[in-house]
């Protein structure tokens, strides 16, 4: 499958399960997106575990000027507070619109499980067609003798446990945003 078709499929399948997908050009655009989204939703508190210091600093600045709070890790102490989390994800699985995220760090888990909104950043070069194409990478993680916690995330949290009616955001994030970043090396 050609690169453009793969991106197209990823977008379609992710949108199909309720993920809000955008193509953007760089990380600073993602930072702005997260803050704007937070403002639009009238939310206050952000987290960004796993981002490097430079990006964290620019998010911190933007939060400050926008009257928002960027939580410091460890997040366990502020578990009730998280509104929006901005994190990287490791791979995209186009066939199902899924995101693969190594969540060994407790903060990554807290951020992506407890937030109302999860904004995920994925370099376009890391989109794969299906689970077969990430099997080797995942297996390598699992066969390493250290502990690991790896997630495939597909859309927001959902349930149909009452009268089989689909409801979004039962325990996990109510919204999942996927930002596909163009100008990045894999």
């Amino acid at each position: 499958m050609g690169k453009n078709n793969l991106i197209q499929l990823m977008k379609e399948k992710a949108a199909g399960v309720g993920t809000i997908v955008h193509e953007i050009s760089c990380v600073s655009e993602a930072i702005k997106y997260a803050v704007d989204l937070n403002r639009k939703k009238k939310l206050k508190i952000l987290t960004c575990p796993g981002l490097d210091q430079k990006d964290r600093d620019s998010l911190q600045d933007l939060c400050k000027s926008s009257g928002m709070n960027l939580l410091k890790e460890p997040l366990r102490n502020h578990a009730y507070l998280i509104d929006t989390s901005l994190t990287w994800v490791d791979y995209g699985i186009a066939e199902t619109g899924s995101l693969m995220l190594a969540s060994d760090s407790e903060d990554i888990r807290m951020a992506t499980m407890l937030a109302k909104i999860h904004v995920a950043m994925l370099p376009i070069a890391k989109i794969r067609l299906n689970t077969e194409q990430i099997e080797a990478e995942l297996d390598e993680i699992l066969k390493n003798n250290s502990p690991s916690y790896t997630a495939f995330i597909t859309g927001p949290s959902r349930t149909a446990d009452i009268e089989r009616v689909l409801a979004i955001g039962v325990h996990g994030p109510v919204e999942l945003h996927l930002l596909l970043i163009k100008e990045m090396k894999s």
Partner: protein
């Protein structure tokens, strides 16, 4: 808590209660239809059959080696800091988990959904020990508040309406809710349960996969509560059945392609999580979680060595066998299983929860094959249910009188046929010369009154056969008719119509007189020996001449002769070739007319509208689906599709006598759908279905005529 009926009398009472629950009935009926209608769309991108077979084969190759896989898992998981246990039975598993809780000074426990924990009644055990246990899966939380067991493996609270859920939530929170709004109810759970996650000392989960070569657990979920359960508390215990062990990640990823699709119609669930060892936790001094995995045997290891039942360990708990089951859709899961529900539940209950809990429910299978068709791991569920029934009878040490009489009678063809002839005379005062009995005598249970009953023919087909002049001079083909009891003794006219059609094409039809009942009723009542004796009698009856085909007008006979005869003689290598010679010649009427007879396309257009009912044993048993519909159209009739054409009519032979209250409900939906199609005639190609459908139409005094396809085609000049 769970109260499964242990005898038929109390089971019947429970069934009546379930049938009176109008919410349950409409919810499950709708679910049954929607699930089937969605399937083609869910599977449009992948090949269900080949994936299913690959998974089944893979599972079969692992089942004999579960203990070796366990050791491999243990060694790998322990390298990453997990502690791995094995529990012989439910009690031991519960004790191990309670001990872990005590050792770690746990007070509050949260749980994500685990059927294995339901199996061991873990909550009851932990609560007795003074722990506070909260279920966090929405459906599980609801039934925990209701103090019930799950009524479905994937949707545990599917039997409850939003209003019932709202009431439970109001009681729990002392707040008022707008129960109409499901979204708001869901948010109640989010709001109420969030603090429980944060306060809990220990989280208990199940697992869908235990991958041996890395010591990893795989969990397939939607709500996100499992992720919180395995992350927030300091201790995580996973309770896993031995049957969840897989060799490698590839095997798990393959199952992952079918499990969500088959369970909920999703290509993948919201969360699939791979957990290995003791992960980071900033809630402990060591900075690592306290991680335990408890593997539960509880009969699985002995099942893995059972030549008949080991395939039941292939089950991946998708719940689809309930979704498509016409009986489940009428009575719901609480009356259709013990802890595990649906077809697989009727089987596993015996092995996990004992014969007393299976005694009544195991009889409640109509053998329609719907579950077998959707099973993602190709378990022959209807067959195993009958095998389970036989084992329950054996363990009980006494065969029900009805089954014994049936067995005795059927073994002796002459006696059996004598009884059928005698039945004709006995029916005369009731039928008053008509072809149907509309009003049952007062001594019969009024539940049987949902359909008019057919009258036994005055002269069976076998007695008039020679007088019909079946011999031809130079026939182009010689076939034999396997009449089956219904054609022979109730509908000989359908046999006459067949002969008429065949003569027209210069095909000679023989009626070997030593043939007897195919044996399906014996198999249905778990009389395996009788079924085998009948098979031998029939094979001998057809041995005399080298027929080109053995044709039958009965879909149930055709499917039983084709598939079950091979199963009956599976162990018997000597008869193998003989059986194959016989079964290879069996052909159903529609296939014969379409492929061998090549029934001609007529050019006239008949305005009469014809709807079709697909007999279970034809469309699923023999995968004959297009032929009968094509034949209706070739004969010039206007075919009008009805909804749910391939759903059972509710007959199932003796099923409709054992469970008339359920049979009549299945029939009702079927007839409503046919009436809605606007048909003038309802055609099917099984005399059993004709009996049920025409009996029902007659009772509701519908103008729609029900006939066998052979009658429709023989009407043509």
């Amino acid at each position: 808590m769970i109260k499964t009926a242990q005898d038929m009398k109390s089971y019947k009472k429970q069934i009546q209660q379930a049938l009176a629950d109008s919410f349950l009935r409409s919810a499950l009926d709708e679910f049954n239809t929607v699930y089937r209608e969605n399937r083609p769309n869910v599977y449009k991108d992948i090949d269900f059959n080949s994936l299913r077979d690959a998974i089944a084969e893979n599972k079969d190759s692992l089942i004999p080696f579960l203990e070796i896989l366990f050791e491999e898992f243990k060694s790998n998981a322990q390298k990453a800091g997990a502690i791995v246990h094995r529990a012989r039975d439910a009690r031991q598993a519960n004790e191990i988990i309670a001990r872990i809780a005590k050792e770690n000074k746990v007070k509050k426990i949260i749980k994500s959904k685990s059927m294995t924990a339901e199996e061991t009644f873990l909550n009851t055990h932990l609560e007795k020990q003074g722990f506070i246990v909260t279920e966090t899966d929405l459906g599980e939380w609801i039934i925990q508040l209701k103090k019930e067991g799950p009524s479905h493996m994937v949707m545990p609270a599917i039997h409850l309406s939003r209003y019932q859920v709202g009431e439970l939530f109001e009681k729990q929170t002392d707040l008022k809710f707008d129960s109409e709004n499901i979204d708001k109810l869901v948010k109640v759970a989010r709001h109420e349960l969030r603090p429980k996650f944060l306060e809990a000392d220990m989280g208990i989960s199940g697992a869908n996969f235990a991958i041996a070569d890395s010591g990893t657990l795989g969990l397939v979920t939607n709500e996100g509560n499992m992720r919180l359960t395995t992350t927030l508390p300091r201790v995580h215990v996973a309770l896993v059945g031995f049957d969840k062990l897989l060799a490698d990640l590839g095997s798990a990823l393959r199952i992952l392609k079918l499990l969500p699709r088959n369970a909920t119609g999703q290509a993948i669930t919201s969360y699939v999580t791979w957990i290995k060892g003791a992960n980071q936790s900033l809630n402990t001094l060591s900075g690592k979680k306290i991680m335990h995995v408890v593997f539960l045997d509880n009969g699985r290891l002995s099942l893995s060595k059972d030549s008949v039942f080991s395939t039941s360990l292939r089950c991946i708990r998708c719940g689809a066998c309930a979704n498509v089951c016409p009986i489940y859709s009428k009575v719901g899961g609480h009356k259709y299983g013990h802890v595990y529900i649906g077809a697989i539940g009727l089987i596993l209950t015996l092995f996990f929860h004992g014969k007393d809990n299976d005694r009544a429910i195991v009889k409640n299978c109509i053998n329609c094959q719907a579950c077998k068709e959707v099973c993602p791991v190709a378990i022959d569920l209807p067959h195993l249910i009958k095998k389970t029934y036989a084992r329950v009878i054996k363990e009980d040490g006494k065969t029900p009188v009805k089954n014994l009489i049936l067995s005795k009678l059927m073994k002796n063809r002459k006696l059996f046929h004598f009884a059928l002839r005698a039945a004709y005379l006995a029916q005369q005062p009731l039928s008053r010369g008509k072809s149907m009995i509309r009003h049952l005598p007062f001594f019969m249970d009024k539940n049987h009154g949902f359909r008019s009953l057919p009258v036994i023919a005055k002269t069976p087909l076998r007695d008039i056969w020679q007088s019909l002049g079946p011999e031809l001079k130079n026939p182009s083909l010689k076939i034999a008719l396997f009449a089956g009891c219904a054609i022979d003794f109730i509908y000989p006219g359908q046999g006459e119509d067949l002969l008429k059609l065949m003569k027209k094409a210069n095909i000679q039809v023989d009626f070997p007189m030593d043939q007897t009942c195919c044996g399906l009723p014996a198999m249905m009542s778990a009389q395996e020996k009788t079924a085998k004796e009948l098979a031998i009698q029939n094979i001998q009856a057809f041995e005399a001449k080298p027929y080109d085909y053995i044709l039958t007008l009965c879909a149930s006979c055709a499917s039983h002769l084709t598939h079950n005869y091979k199963k009956i003689f599976k162990e018997d290598k000597e008869s193998g070739q003989k059986i194959k010679l016989f079964t290879d010649k069996i052909i159903d009427f529609s296939s014969f007319m379409d492929k061998v007879y090549t029934f001609p396309q007529t050019h006239e257009n008949i305005e009469t509208k014809v709807s079709y009912h697909a007999p279970c044993h034809l469309c699923r048993g023999l995968h004959v689906t297009n032929e009968p519909r094509a034949l209706i159209q070739k004969a010039g009739y206007t075919y009008v599709p009805a909804k749910d054409e391939e759903v059972c009519c509710g007959f199932g032979g003796s099923y409709s006598i054992d469970f008339p209250e359920i049979s009549s409900e299945i029939l009702k939906k079927k007839l409503d759908n046919v009436e809605a199609s606007g048909a003038d005639i309802l055609v099917t190609d099984c005399p059993g279905c004709v009996m049920q459908l025409s009996g029902g139409m007659d009772k509701r005094q519908s103008p729609i005529k029900v006939i066998h396809l052979v009658e429709l085609l023989a009407q043509k000049k």
